[in-house]
């Protein structure tokens, strides 16, 4: 009797879990269907070409791929240390009565529509860093901070107290407690938080497009304008008229999907190499 209950529970939850890859598969199938004309015309050259000319209908994705990767990297470089630090402060260090409010406030910032971030960014980041890759990275960092800090704060908090208390009882300082007793059990959760943040950074459109300058050019300087995959899709999708143009935009969506898959895979591999397999896969 007990066994059947558990088996049913396993089956039902599994079906719900299974619907996620199935939905993704359906989405990819529909995208590929729509991107087929562009894939047929441009082939593999699409990925290495730098020309994007809707009038002459020649399309290439390289500058967008570059812009997407670099802007997300900048965003992570800023938001991960800040987000984890803030989460540690809220979960492990602060004894203030008001920290709950602070935490809720950070969560709420996920609710600000991205157009509002964008309009704010033009007038604050624009004069500071110009319309550039850096501005794009910074606005992304601000937008993914709530995700990273809120989730990792919950992860830190749910590390069993007994672990933290044992470390403290042995005379460990706060830092040593965090290093020894908190980071270990929390690392899978931290990775999850970072990947969710990265996902948002890769796919964000409206705010980043307001400040990044939207120039499809590969420049070594992070103070030069750039462009991202998600931005160009959002910018041109609504007005694209010809079928080839439209399918080239959808193909950008597929490339973004591939990038997400590769980046996620690499992140897993990296963690697996450094800290071992358990809890990651």
């Amino acid at each position: 009797m007990r066994k059947t209950g558990d088996a049913w529970f396993n089956l039902v939850t599994f079906l719900f879990a299974l619907s996620i890859p199935l939905l993704l598969l359906l989405l990819v199938a529909i995208l590929i269907g729509q991107a087929l004309p562009a894939i047929k015309i441009f082939g593999a050259g699409f990925i290495i070409s730098s020309s994007w000319d809707p009038v002459k209908e020649t399309f290439g994705a390289l500058p967008y791929i570059y812009g997407t990767l670099v802007s997300s990297l900048i965003a992570l470089a800023i938001a991960v240390p800040l987000g984890l630090g803030a989460a540690l402060y809220l979960a492990e260090v602060s004894r203030s009565r008001y920290k709950e409010y602070l935490a809720v406030m950070i969560e709420l910032l996920a609710a600000i529509p991205s157009i509002i971030y964008g309009l704010w960014g033009i007038f604050v980041l624009g004069p500071l860093f110009g319309l550039s890759m850096l501005s794009g990275g910074v606005i992304l960092a601000i937008m993914i901070l709530p995700t990273i800090s809120a989730i990792s704060r919950e992860v830190f908090r749910s590390v069993p107290n007994i672990l933290k208390e044992s470390a403290l009882a042995l005379g460990a300082t706060r830092w040593e407690t965090v290093k020894l007793a908190v980071f270990g059990p929390a690392r899978s959760g931290i990775l999850g938080a970072i990947i969710l943040g990265l996902g948002r950074a890769l796919g964000e459109t409206m705010a980043v497009t307001m400040v990044i300058g939207n120039r499809p050019e590969i420049s070594a300087s992070i103070f030069a304008p750039a462009y991202t995959l998600a931005s160009v899709i959002a910018n041109e999708f609504a007005e694209a008229s010809s079928d080839v143009y439209l399918s080239a935009l959808v193909e950008l969506g597929i490339i973004l999907l591939l990038i997400t898959m590769i980046v996620n895979g690499l992140a897993r591999l990296l963690i697996w190499k450094t800290v071992g397999k358990s809890n990651i896969f």
């Binding site: 989405l27 529909i30 709420l108 800090s149 989730i151 990947i195 796919g203």
Partner: protein
């Protein structure tokens, strides 16, 4: 010898100080830009908020007394629709991943969720458009809710899984030892213990979809009238805010800022209410 030990102790203390200072600065620096954005919205939006804003329909530029009543209701309906898709898949899927998701199947599902998280929301909107709008032949709240529901899934799956994993295994075993079936232990004990964290994930996801514009434009569309029919276009705050924000007129800009402010406080309200409610359920 004694001296060396003291030195080591001193070093440890210094390291600890640096750590405390560093995380404090992080919290400060993290909150500052967020405060800036919030302050900006507050200053620009507060003036345009009054009772009419909540009760009335949008008005054209330059006409006093207009509001976003229909969009506020519409956004709430869209969030509920999204939750009816995102919560069951996200929570039950997360539970499965935490408890049974060790092997290849778990990897596949976890990986799919992470990939889903990186898809631009406008692409998810395109998907819902192709799947639902084209088939129905018209824009509808259902299509919008479906798109938003998909966007919620990765956050909820991930947080549910991680939070359940953080519950000590001994708790589960203690439940089993008492002769309670595993699935009951999971739902009654493990899930409740992990609830606070899962809840944070849900609120993050709700906040996120409440602020989404791009996936709604080609699905739920929008309307300047009251709308309750799920198979018809549905008003939403973000699309209304977006239309106002990109117009040339100050009057509408003020309403866009006010709308953002209301949106933030609406999510705050939901958060506090549900948190209180869920605590009562948990302990009452």
């Amino acid at each position: 010898m004694e001296n060396g030990r003291q030195k080591q102790y001193f070093l440890r203390k210094i390291k600890n100080r640096i750590f405390l200072l560093a995380v404090f600065s992080c919290a400060l620096i993290a909150v500052l830009p967020l405060l800036f954005v919030l302050g900006h919205v507050l200053v620009k939006g507060l003036g345009a908020i009054n009772l009419d804003f909540f009760l009335h329909l949008p008005t054209p530029v330059g006409e006093a007394g207009g509001g976003m009543g229909n969009a506020i209701i519409g956004t709430l309906i869209l969030i509920m629709l999204a939750c009816s898709i995102g919560l069951p898949i996200g929570i039950l899927g997360g539970i499965w991943l935490a408890q049974f998701g060790e092997g290849k199947r778990g990897f596949l599902i976890r990986y799919s969720a992470d990939v889903l998280a990186g898809i631009p929301t406008i692409v998810i909107g395109m998907f819902a458009y192709a799947l639902i709008v084209i088939r129905m032949g018209r824009f509808s709240a259902l299509a919008g809710g479906f798109a938003l529901g998909l966007i919620m899934i990765p956050t909820i799956v991930r947080t549910t899984e991680e939070m359940i994993k953080m519950v000590p295994r001994s708790l589960y075993e203690a439940g089993l030892a008492l002769g309670i079936p595993g699935w009951k232990v999971t739902l009654r004990v493990i899930f409740r213990t992990a609830w606070s964290g899962i809840f944070t994930g849900i609120m993050l996801a709700v906040a996120r979809i409440a602020g989404e514009t791009a996936p709604l434009i080609f699905t739920a569309f929008n309307t300047p009238y009251w709308s309750f029919q799920l198979d018809q276009p549905m008003a939403s705050m973000t699309v209304t805010i977006y239309n106002y924000a990109i117009s040339p007129f100050d009057d509408w800009h003020a309403k866009a800022w006010a709308g953002s402010l209301v949106l933030i406080f609406a999510v705050l309200g939901i958060t506090l209410l549900v948190r209180k409610f869920s605590k009562q359920v948990q302990y009452g």
